[in-house]
């Protein structure tokens, strides 16, 4: 791994293990009354969000602040971007201020990789278009391991709008790194192009039939992805009702899952469309770890900032 975190493919198993281990100790900080460590004192982190975000941006901000870094948030709205400044000029301007890390969310796939070539700061991908969201995959792995231990051989099923999901793309990489078995489920119109060749090369399974997957190989983890209602107008599926009946985690499906696998984890990267891809019963069930994911988000992002900005040059080589 370089000094950037652009793709989950950049992380070796040792890298992931080290980050998750650090995250565990950061999680302890989070439970203290005084949630502050001096680790990143004097460092400057800019969260540059070209796309709306609540949880990712606030968790990066909290992560930086709890580690005593100076954290500044910028959004496209209200910045020079809205005056027509190019991405390159915007980040060059920020870079000229000698910041240590740039956390970037952008609506274009590949934007973070571009930026990493232009700046001296460490670049952290906080979501680029429909490409990747590596810290989400790390916090998902953290949450799974906290509940299941080692993920080797565990079956993780990811359901939803795979074609447009960066959460899926990063998760499938990190879960492979950690040895989990993955099945992804979506209607054909929400499968990414070329999924047959991709899944064959990377060793995950695909299906159009959620009920068959739940019945034949009940998952240890069922991850429901957000389905944007805009996809309906794009003709990806006819009605929300039809989607929910085919691919939602409805009450009957929840019952079927828990009958087969009482300890199964229910996950969702948020924000949820209750009643569309996930029922209220599922979202609020004792098996749901959706808020644990949010909580882990801060600890994992503290760990990522630590390893990129401070961490010793370990064998994994992800140090600054």
């Amino acid at each position: 791994m370089t000094r950037h975190l652009i793709s989950s493919a950049d992380l070796t198993r040792d890298d992931v293990e080290a980050i998750l281990e650090t995250a565990a100790s950061m999680h302890d900080v989070q439970r203290r009354e005084v949630k502050k460590v001096p680790t990143l004192r004097g460092r400057t982190i800019i969260n540059f969000f070209f796309e709306d975000s609540t949880r990712t941006r606030s968790s990066f901000e909290i992560a930086g602040k709890w580690m005593s870094a100076d954290t500044i948030n910028l959004s496209a709205k209200g910045s020079s971007t809205s005056k027509g400044e190019s991405l390159r000029d915007s980040v060059a301007t920020i870079n000229a201020m000698a910041v240590d890390a740039l956390v970037i969310r952008h609506n274009q796939s590949g934007a973070c990789r571009q930026v990493a070539g232009w700046v001296g700061a460490s670049v952290i991908n906080a979501g680029d278009g429909t490409h990747e969201h590596p810290t989400q995959a790390l916090l998902d792995a953290y949450t799974m391991r906290a509940n299941l231990g080692d993920l080797t051989g565990r079956h993780v099923v990811i359901v939803g709008d795979l074609a447009h999901s960066r959460v899926f793309r990063s998760n499938v990489l990190t879960l492979a790194t950690l040895g989990a078995r993955v099945t992804v489920v979506a209607p054909p119109t929400l499968m990414p192009a070329g999924i047959a060749a991709w899944s064959a090369a990377d060793g995950f399974a695909t299906s159009w039939d959620l009920d068959a997957v739940l019945a034949d190989d009940p998952p240890d983890v069922l991850m429901m992805l957000r389905v944007q209602r805009e996809r309906m107008s794009g003709g990806y599926f006819p009605t929300p009702r039809e989607y929910t009946i085919g691919y939602g985690l409805t009450r009957p499906r929840l019952a079927a899952l828990l009958a087969a696998r009482p300890e199964a984890l229910i996950m969702h990267p948020g924000p949820m469309n209750r009643g569309l891809e996930i029922s209220a019963e599922a979202a609020d069930s004792p098996n749901s770890v959706i808020l644990d994911q949010v909580s882990a988000g801060v600890a994992v992002r503290m760990a990522v900032l630590y390893h990129l900005l401070v961490g010793e040059a370990t064998s994994g080589g992800y140090a600054a």
Binding site: S109, G110, D128, G129, T130, H131, E132, H155, A163, H164, R166, R169, R181, T183, V185, P188, T189, M191, P192, A193, G194, I195, A196, A197, W198, S199, A200, A201, A205, T206, S207, W208, D209, L210, A212, V213, A215, D216, D217, G234
Partner: protein, 261 residues
Amino acid sequence: MTTLLIRGATPFWSGEPTADTTVCGQATDILIRDGLIAETGTLGDVRGVEVLDADGLLLLPGFVDLHAHLRQPGREDAETIASGSAAAAVGGFTAILAMANTTPPTDTAENAEYVLDEGRRVGLVDVQPIGAVTKGLAGQELAELALMARSRARVRVFSDDGHCVHDARVMRRALDYLRPFGGVISQHAQDGDLAGPGACAHEGEWSGRLGLPGWPTPRSRRSSPAMRSWRGIPDPGCTSPTSPPRRASRSSAGPSSGGSP
């Protein structure tokens, strides 16, 4: 015009084509006077001429680029007739046809003559404007095809390029209309409705992995349903533009167990 002597060049091809003609002729000297080949063969000393040593080099006819974007007028920040001409000349192109999608587009005789004149002023290669098929490249009404053809620019190739002529009736009228002056239409044969507005990659495994919106392409011959039926290859039951998902290896879920459309 100066006189130029090219020494020892190997012409790419010379002589009458036959099934077993070698692509290269014999090395030869070539004397060019006033822009025309004056003499070939082994030439002795020629006084007062510029000599180009072409020993071991291949001599090719000037290339013609049928589809160049010179961006002028309107996008001189991206390219100009001068910069495009220079690039063409360096690459061995002696004539380039300039696409009509400038601002304003080349959809009148006056605009076509502007491109022609600017190309001549630069003077590096022949710059021949392509005319728009429809006014403003909008695909609705025919542009002044005949006036462009009769102009000094003598436009013979017409194209709306990336805007494509979507309306079959407009296309038919255009093809009919240009028969008297022997024009041709160069159609960018693509249906933009098949791709999303952000399409920027060939649709396939890598556009899927990278999360880039893809341009659909005719599926590989193996997986297109039509091609499959021609070749007698069994159809796995998926007719969607995305590939059929791989059968789940650890479950019976998949195309054959109720997932197929």
